[in-house]
């Protein structure tokens, strides 16, 4: 007869799961992200970095958004630790639903209808005109820079 799992068993299983999906576990690179549980476990990692970022922002009185600080710290960490499929899958899952996270801030536009009416021409000029102008110049500029790099490489090659 099978006995029901005790609390100790449950904690043990939870600990195994956390360890299994933790970023310290190198072999996780070879593990297929099949279990939903595994990539949910990385979301607390992102939240911890978000909280560290918010805390550092208050602590040093920085004008930078807390989430940007958290992201930079996570980026630094990711250059130290090996890449991990579960971590990538976790970030992808979260970023897939980015539109959902915009809703609370975006709905606030209902209180700004007078600004939209008053500055409609200026907003239109900036959002359409300036955007297209910036986009064209960015594309031309980047292409020119890449071409001059290629040319420089060719000159170097022909000399050697």
């Amino acid at each position: 007869m099978k006995s029901p799992p005790t609390i100790v068993d449950t904690i043990k299983r939870a600990a195994t799961l956390i360890y299994d999906a933790s970023w310290m576990f190198d072999a996780a690179d070879d593990v297929k992200p099949t279990s939903t549980m595994k990539f949910i476990l990385y979301i607390p990692l992102f939240i911890v970095f978000q909280l560290i970022g918010n805390w550092l922002k208050v602590f040093w009185d920085l004008p930078i958004p807390g989430a940007t600080i958290g992201m930079s710290l996570l980026l630094l960490l990711l250059f130290i630790i090996p890449s991990n499929k579960n971590l990538t899958a976790s970030a992808q899952k979260l970023l897939l639903h980015l539109p959902l996270f915009f809703i609370p801030a975006g709905v606030g536009i209902m209180n700004y209808t007078d600004v939209l009416k008053q500055d409609s021409l200026a907003l239109f000029a900036s959002v359409f005109g300036a955007t297209i102008l910036c986009f064209i110049s960015a594309a031309l500029f980047t292409q020119r820079l890449l071409k001059s790099e290629d040319d420089a490489d060719k000159i170097c090659e022909s000399k050697t």
Partner: protein
């Protein structure tokens, strides 16, 4: 009746938001991914109509769905992962891409603000236009820091991305931009996430460079713009 219910149980507003989000995802899928029906746009429109119908103030709504707003910061942190995964791309063309990024990180906000400034907008609207080419989570964070209107910024950023996504293929044709690296990088620099989605439809290489540019632009602008504004104002 429904009005009282939503007031007494604010958690229902959270539920309503989630249901509306799922519905707008469904509409977007069914419309063959029409840009005008982007899930963000239709979901926000539907939530606003629901709030107007049930006569609920934005403040009350925001309090009940603040947990979703918190996750926006979490998702911003998660953007470090794709940036790390795409970072090797910059090594091959480190010099041109770094120059392009630093120049455009200055030119884009200056030009956007300048266009509205000659047409006589007030300072809060100008500040709301400055972060318009960075990914929405960064832009909302920056807006809160520099004293712009975060909801206005969100709307401006989404429309900017959609403009780039729509005009990109014709611009590449007219100005004969045929290098996929230049295409992707410029789309990410100016059109952030929404243009990146379009760039991935062009080719994987274009999309990867667009994602890289979007991450770098978001990181650099959200770090430097608050200092620049504090120094200027």
């Amino acid at each position: 009746m429904i009005h009282n219910l939503l007031h007494d149980f604010p958690i229902l507003l959270l539920l309503l938001t989630l249901v509306i989000y799922v519905v707008s995802l469904y509409i977007y899928q069914r419309s063959n991914k029409n840009v005008l029906l982007l899930p963000v746009v239709s979901a926000i429109a539907l939530v606003i109509s629901a709030l107007l119908v049930f006569d609920i103030e934005y403040g009350t709504y925001f309090e009940s769905v603040e947990v979703i707003h918190f996750l926006l910061g979490t998702a911003t942190v998660a953007l470090a992962v794709p940036l790390r995964n795409n970072f090797h791309l910059i090594r091959e063309h480190a010099f041109p891409l770094t120059i392009s990024l630093s120049v455009m990180a200055i030119v884009t906000p200056v030009l956007s603000v300048f266009a509205a400034w000659i047409l006589g907008s007030d300072i809060a609207v100008l500040l709301s236009l400055a972060p318009k080419s960075i990914s929405t989570p960064f832009a909302i964070g920056v807006a809160e820091e520099i004293g712009a209107y975060p909801p206005l910024v969100a709307a401006i950023v989404i429309v900017t991305g959609a403009v780039v996504a729509v005009v990109s293929s014709s611009v590449f044709k007219v100005f004969s931009i045929d290098n996929p690296i230049a295409q992707g990088f410029s789309m990410g620099l100016v059109g952030h996430g929404i243009a990146t989605a379009t760039a991935f439809e062009m080719s994987v290489k274009t999309g990867a460079f667009s994602a890289l540019a979007m991450g770098l632009m978001g990181l650099s602008t959200s770090t430097l713009l608050p200092y620049f504004v504090a120094w200027l104002v």
